[in-house]
């Protein structure tokens, strides 16, 4: 009975969304406030019905009602309660409902916050959000319904259970974080669309969405970093980023959104780039839908499997619908989007931002190209050519380094125009110091990319330091404050600017970590108890292999003593080989899993994988020495800190 209620709630939600769109469209021509109210209330009703059906599905997951196909597929009686809830976003139909759930939360917030504040913009904002809502409601109602009952042919005693790889805290929170970022972008999109329809194209809409955009960016960033962290800790191939289509799907909107965050600063300051900002936000939003399409339609495995699921064509149609409607509207309003001013000089902050934008978009295009290349090659030439990580690395490394350099150059340029004298003054110190590092590293014979990357990192750090120093120094002189008080004051008085610089520091630290990839060492070998092997400067001594039976798996544990070149003990590592569901009589249902162990320091990570054990007790190990990886995660923390500072609410004056 209750599952039916969930299904009916979804039906009704679709109905209310349609009522909302129709009545708000009528309102825009007849201005009858009652119709306006009806439209808003229907949108709220639709959202509450989505909440209801999400709660119903979560409850069914909790009580293991295997009459629902989704519950039987992703959970079992044994699944821990926490993962019964996270199963809500483990599968296709559930994750689409979850997406809708977040969108509905945002829709309610937007309506309650802005109903009076942005009375004129609201009808079209709500219409835009409702269109997106209708799309997901159509999917969950007609194409992949999460409340679909189990096949009546089957007697279900127990469900399948959740994949052990997904039974991990990071993996439970990674998808919701990404979704918050993805779905949050619907709001800036809706504001942009409404501003365009209403010809209200100043900086008002930009001001109202700055916070939404930044929060979405933060969640998207955290989601991407968590995904990498999970891959590094759990998947056991020693890396955190593989340029997999699923990863690219989240990275592409992140790139265009980052560009957008920079270019709206110019629109706020000087009213320029209106046209460009519209295009950026529409592309970003479309990329979030396209990303979901990539990961959910099966198009990546083959163009042919694409049509097997009806999800693919529906998604693609929506992507085209969004592109056509958005760009048609931009075209109609092109005269209103013209800016009065032009950029005066390329050696200016505006010029730097513009170049940064172009490069972000180019980088996004390069990722897009590599991602769709297999599909394009199959469609055009009949043979599918797949591209791997080396392709992406080769294309993106130089582009990424240019961006890194711009991160340092940008703050050194003045608004409007930078005088030659100022260029000399500002660039002298960073160029000198990073230049020295450049020649030292060259002399030591490092690879060109490594030398360039580290020198640029130092350049950016010095440039940012100078910004903080200059700001603080002027306060020290004027108000006679101590350095730290002055530093605190400049940050708190100009949060978005200095928060932004801190984010840049985070990015630089991440680049330090990425550059460490160039020094990776990897070795696979077999060891008997008591014997050892050398990898890099380290010795790996297998002291023991033990076995242990635990509640849901059986584990072989290898005890590896890690010794440095002087023979000192560094750490004992315990990578494990596990078999989940080991009591299952059907050998095919047992699932092996390698639990890695990492010795992690600021300098390098020593990553150990226990691949196999043979009948004679020889352990087969894979050891990787990955320098500087930790800086990627540290950079991630700094990035979050910087964004939080930028987001921290200002005291209303």
């Amino acid at each position: 009975m209750t599952p039916l209620a969930g299904s009916v709630a979804l039906n009704l939600a679709l109905g209310f969304s349609i009522i909302s769109i129709v009545s708000l469209s009528i309102y825009t021509s007849n201005n009858d406030e009652r119709i306006n109210l009806l439209g808003h209330r229907s949108a709220l009703a639709s959202s509450f019905l989505v909440f209801l059906s999400t709660f119903i599905l979560s409850y069914q997951l909790m009580i293991s009602n295997f009459d629902i196909d989704y519950v039987a597929r992703y959970t079992s009686f044994e699944t821990p309660t926490m993962y019964k809830i996270s199963a809500l976003w483990a599968g296709q139909s559930g994750s689409l409902l979850f997406w809708l759930f977040i969108l509905s939360i945002f829709s309610v917030i937007v309506i309650l916050q802005n109903q009076t504040k942005h009375h004129k913009l609201m009808p079209w904002i709500v219409i835009s959000i409702s269109v997106v809502q209708i799309f997901f409601l159509v999917l969950t109602n007609f194409i992949t319904n999460p409340f679909k009952p189990t096949d009546t042919d089957f007697v279900i005693q127990n469900g399948n259970g959740l994949n052990p790889l997904l039974q991990n805290l990071t993996m439970a929170i990674h998808p919701p974080t990404l979704y918050l970022g993805y779905v949050g972008l619907t709001v800036p999109f809706a504001f942009a669309f409404s501003a365009l329809v209403n010809k209200d194209l100043g900086s008002l809409w930009i001001k109202s969405i700055r916070r939404w955009t930044l929060i979405s960016w933060l969640f998207l960033s955290i989601g991407i970093i968590l995904g990498g962290w999970w891959a590094y800790q759990e998947l056991g191939w020693g890396g955190y980023w593989a340029w997999d289509p699923v990863e690219n799907a989240s990275f592409m909107p992140w790139l265009t959104l980052t560009a957008f965050l920079h270019s709206i600063i110019i629109q706020e300051k000087s009213g320029m780039l209106r046209f460009w900002n519209m295009i950026l936000i529409f592309i970003t939003f479309t990329l979030t839908i396209f990303g979901t399409f990539l990961t959910r339609s099966g198009v990546m495995s083959s163009v042919h499997s694409f049509t097997e699921s009806s999800l693919g064509p529906v998604f693609l149609s929506f992507v085209f619908f969004l592109l056509i409607v958005s760009f048609a509207l931009i075209y109609i309003r092109k005269d209103h989007l013209k800016s009065a001013k032009k950029i005066e000089s390329f050696a200016s902050r505006e010029g730097g931002f513009l170049l940064n934008n172009v490069i972000f978009v180019v980088l996004c295009f390069a990722v897009f190209w590599g991602t769709i290349f297999p599909v394009v090659s199959e469609a055009v030439r009949g043979t599918k050519i797949t591209v791997g990580a080396p392709f992406f690395n080769q294309i993106n490394t130089p582009i990424g380094l240019i961006l890194l350099g711009l991160t340092g150059v940008g703050p050194l340029l003045a608004w409007r125009k930078t005088s030659n004298e100022k260029i000399k003054n500002n660039f002298f110190l960073p160029t000198l110091i990073s230049g020295i590092l450049f020649f030292i590293l060259m002399a030591l014979g490092y690879d060109a990319y490594v030398v360039i990357s580290f020198s640029l990192c130092l350049f950016v750090i010095i440039a940012i330091y100078m910004e903080f120093y200059k700001g603080a120094k002027s306060r020290i002189v004027r108000f006679n404050e101590s350095f730290f008080v002055a530093l605190y004051k400049i940050i708190s008085k100009n949060r978005s600017r200095y928060g932004g610089y801190i984010v840049h520091v985070g990015i630089v630290l991440m680049f330090v970590g990425f550059t460490g990839n160039a020094f990776d060492i990897e070795k696979e070998f077999g060891l008997k108890k008591g014997s050892s092997e050398f990898v890099g400067d380290y010795e790996f001594l297998l002291t023991d292999i033990t076995e242990e039976e635990r509640p849901n798996h059986y584990a072989w544990i290898s005890h590896i003593r890690l010794l440095d070149s002087q023979g000192n003990i560094v750490e004992d590592l315990y990578p494990e080989k596990r078999v989940y569901f080991h009591e299952n009589p059907d050998i095919n249902k047992r699932q092996p899993h390698s639990e890695i162990d990492i010795h992690s320091t600021m300098n390098l990570d020593i990553y150990s994988i226990f691949s196999a054990i043979d009948a004679n007790g020889t352990a087969f190990l894979k050891i990787m020495i990955n320098p500087l990886v930790k800086w990627v995660w540290i950079g991630g923390y700094v990035l979050v800190l910087g964004t939080m500072i930028a987001l921290w609410p200002r005291k209303e004056l």
Partner: protein, 135 residues
């Protein structure tokens, strides 16, 4: 300047597409049948199922593994000598990359179906079809 930057990058992207620096950067995805018919010796990528009972792991070195990749009716013997992914087992859906030499496919990459697309079949030891109950 903007136009210049765009031109340079378009040139760069096409350059890398046509002349990738690493041989593993691009591989042709072919079917097992096509590979055997044409005896393609270039680097290729293949998909298929691990034939049940075909996995043979060397006694002396656990990393040396031979198995038969099955795609439809075609079969191909594959040798892989690196750490195998956890989901590699009889009947698993795998993608291998490598080269064909003297009838054996030497794979240097072996991927199993991605964990995030773990869509289980409801048929397991607990559950059975009603029609099976009648028989």
């Amino acid at each position: 300047m903007i136009a210049g930057a765009v031109c340079v990058t378009i040139f760069w992207i096409s350059w890398v597409t046509i002349f990738p620096s690493d041989k593993t950067a691009m591989s042709m995805f072919v079917s097992v049948e096509e590979l055997l018919d044409k005896q393609i010796s270039k680097r290729t990528k293949l998909g298929g199922l691990v034939k049940t009972g075909s996995i043979q792991i060397s006694e002396s070195n656990q990393l040396n593994c031979d198995f038969i990749l099955k795609e439809g009716e075609s079969e191909l013997s594959v040798r892989y000598t690196k750490t195998r992914p956890d989901l590699f087992k009889d009947g698993a859906e795998v993608i291998v990359s490598g080269q064909l030499m003297n009838g054996t496919f030497y794979a240097d990459e072996l991927q199993t179906k991605c964990a995030s697309r773990y869509e289980g079949d409801l048929r397991n030891e607990n559950n059975y079809k009603l029609t099976e109950l009648v028989q």
